[in-house]
């Protein structure tokens, strides 16, 4: 997994609340293998109308947002289905950070595992950042994970992220390798647990 420490990039505003994972990646694309890359169908049904034509009003369809690496979204971004492919789509499109007032829990967890930063800011700050980049699309924002700050123009905003996710993103930790180093503890736990909950396992009864 790619580490995340600091990023300076263009930011695309998408201030609607409750953009759920069905909207991020409609279910019909869930069959796609990861290797295919899911960026091309990110927000597919928001980006493209039923007539197959791109909606020119949708921010991602506007040339000034092409190449944006930061998404400034509304409240409760990524709620709903646990599909990690929604994170793949956001990441494969080129985004490395989503700024929003709140995130679906599973989405945020999936994001960390893929090196995508979910930066939680207040409602007011999210609106301000979205307004600033809308007014001046060419203005880059800088996201600093260690400092937990977002710099936009001459303003600096703090963002929240839990220490566990922060650690993992900064270090680019691989969970599985880390877990392997606890092999002995896992075995010890199981011995004790089998006494405490003999009814729990299957196959060892």
């Amino acid at each position: 997994m790619e580490k995340f420490d600091r990023l300076t990039a263009r930011a695309c505003p998408l201030p609607q609340p409750n953009i759920n994972t069905d909207a991020i990646l409609p279910a019909r694309f869930l069959k796609w293998p990861r290797e295919k890359g899911l960026g091309s169908v990110l927000f597919q049904d928001l980006r493209v109308g039923a007539d197959g034509k791109e909606d020119p009003a949708f921010p991602l369809n506007q040339p000034m947002w092409h190449g944006a690496k930061v998404l400034v979204a509304g409240r409760n971004f990524g709620g709903g289905s646990s599909r990690e492919a929604a994170v793949y789509a956001v990441y494969d499109y080129g985004f490395r950070c989503v700024i929003a007032p709140s995130f679906g829990d599973i989405f945020a967890q999936n994001a960390v595992k893929n090196g995508l930063l979910t930066a939680a800011v207040s409602d007011a700050d999210a609106s301000e950042i979205a307004a600033a980049v809308t007014a001046d699309p060419a203005r880059d924002v800088t996201v600093d994970l260690a400092q937990q700050t977002i710099s936009c123009g001459n303003r600096v905003y703090g963002f929240a992220i839990d220490p566990v996710s922060k650690n993992q993103l900064l270090n680019g930790w691989d969970d599985v390798d880390l877990t392997e180093s606890y092999r002995q503890q896992i075995e010890d736990y199981r011995k004790v647990d089998l006494q405490a909950r003999p009814w729990a396992p299957i196959g060892r009864r």
């Binding site: 609607q16 409760n76 566990v164 606890y182 503890q185 736990y189 405490a196 009814w199």
Partner: protein, 476 residues
């Protein structure tokens, strides 16, 4: 050293479940938890790919169970699957489980069904366990006093390889529903009323415990519906402390402990409850007597209103962001502000999904439909093949088909539409499912969520309708 005995501070049910599974905790607060059961389905292929990419195999095949549900056809099960892409999804699951010695409730297994129906039905879901699955509605299993939650593909891969998971501890929230619900009120009405009250992200970052006399009075089926919808309030998981209802349901189930081990288990399970003085980070209460049948009008599950209400009017909304959301939702749903909910005509109905397709759900719908005709077409897909069998023994299938509805095989079906069962573009569906998101049941499909009895009422009325008058003089 302190010389006096340490007083154990009172803990919640969730705290107890958490500490039972904690193997170790890092300095930053993340804990390594042991996973008792891991369910996989067709969509878990990303997790299997990641595992294979590392040249690894499933660490604990005996604690891993495969279920074919998301992509399975609900018709012509005896024939090969017509759509090659869908056939490939089902085949991959068969291959991945077979390669790793994992038990599969596959397409033609008599125990096949939706993962969150099969787990409890088979006795795989037990109180005190930690259960994960790559599906957000894994919260369902919390009905047994189980710590159960949905995970993403990377976490699926981690569990496959290690039977453990790193988690940060959620906050604790208690939702207490006291009193008695009135006739015609289902667990779905309780759940949607809660979600409307606290909003779709109201329980974000929280483990929910449902408590109170109205929850105690619910059957296991009702509790499963309630816990299932925890995720629609943003909750990490939802749970009900196990009691006599729970133990009676579990006794004799195929994978439940038997004999003396069952007795021992019940003894342990009886201690799984929140201590009297346990503290929650957040408390919400609801009066059961005030709950009425509800339906959703918009595009998130918290858009639930009493059936005798009116569609919201954005011009009466002070908050501009909210007004703009309402305009957008009304536009998508093609309904007018201020119109009566009961004036919304429907094009079809769907009775199914892990939320509401257990035997009691089918009975509730059948009680309304018996001797009546549906004014619109519709599909009934039982929660599992065993539920289907039982419903047929009870003659419920005949009630549905006599009413003009289609009686199909079990699977996720029109809940998510990826098996091909879609609501056609622009059509409006009264549905027992869990998500009314734009496009959830198919591109351009309009979904109204409600209880099985309310879907039946909509079917016989041709529009959204209050089920209560239709129940007059009927045994339910």
């Amino acid at each position: 050293m302190m010389m006096h005995a340490m007083r154990q501070s009172p803990s919640t049910l969730f705290d107890k479940l958490w500490s039972t599974h904690e193997i170790t905790r890092r300095e930053d607060g993340a804990a390594l938890l042991f996973v008792d059961r891991h369910f996989v389905h067709e969509g878990s292929f990303h997790g299997f790919s990641q595992m294979k990419g590392r040249g690894r195999k499933v660490a604990e095949p005996s604690l891993t169970f495969g279920v074919a549900d998301h992509y399975v056809p609900t018709h012509d099960r005896d024939k090969p699957i017509a759509n090659p892409e869908i056939a490939e999804m089902v085949r991959k699951l068969e291959q991945n489980t077979a390669d790793n010695g994992v038990t599969l409730f596959g397409l033609r297994d008599p125990r096949q069904g939706i993962v969150h129906v099969v787990g409890p039905e088979q006795g795989l879901t037990l109180p005190g366990l930690l259960i994960v699955c790559g599906d957000s509605h894994t919260s369902t299993h919390g009905a047994f006093g189980t710590y159960a939650f949905g995970i993403g593909a990377s976490e699926v891969a981690h569990v496959l390889m290690t039977q453990t998971l790193w988690q940060k501890k959620p906050k604790r929230m208690r939702i207490t529903v006291d009193g008695r619900t009135t006739a015609g009120i289902a667990a779905k009405d309780i759940a949607l009323s809660i979600i409307a009250g606290i909003h779709a992200d109201g329980a974000q970052g929280h483990a929910i415990e449902y408590a109170g006399s109205a929850i105690r009075a619910l059957s296991m089926e009702g509790r499963l519906t309630l816990c299932n919808l925890s995720i629609e309030a943003g909750g990490r998981c939802g749970m009900v402390a196990p009691d006599a209802t729970t133990f009676a349901y579990l006794k004799g189930r195929p994978y439940a402990p038997q004999g003396a081990l069952f007795e021992r288990a019940v003894e342990d399970w009886s201690r799984l409850c929140s201590d009297t003085d346990a503290e929650f980070d957040r408390e919400v209460t609801l009066d059961a007597a005030a709950i009425v049948p509800v339906v959703t009008w918009g595009t998130t599950p918290d858009d639930a209103l009493p059936i005798d209400g009116l569609v919201p009017d954005p011009s009466r909304e002070a908050d501009e962001a909210r007004a703009s959301y309402i305009r957008d939702a009304l536009d998508y749903m093609a309904i007018r502000p201020g119109m009566r909910l009961t004036d919304i005509a429907i094009d079809r109905v769907f009775i199914g999904s892990c939320t509401n397709a257990r035997i009691e759900d089918l009975r509730a719908a059948a009680a309304v439909l018996a001797g009546r005709t549906s004014k619109v077409p519709g599909l009934v897909s039982p929660g599992s093949s065993l539920v289907k069998q039982q419903a047929e023994q009870e003659g419920l299938d005949r009630i549905f088909t006599d009413a003009g509805l289609e009686w199909a095989e079990s699977g996720c079906s029109m809940c998510v539409g990826i098996n091909g069962d879609l609501v056609p573009e622009g059509e409006r569906c009264a549905s027992t499912t869990n998500r009314n998101f734009k496009g959830r049941q198919g591109r351009g499909a309009r979904t109204h969520l409600m209880s099985p009895a309310m879907v039946a009422a909509a079917a016989v009325s041709g529009h959204l309708a209050d089920v209560r008058p239709l129940l007059a003089g009927r045994k339910v």
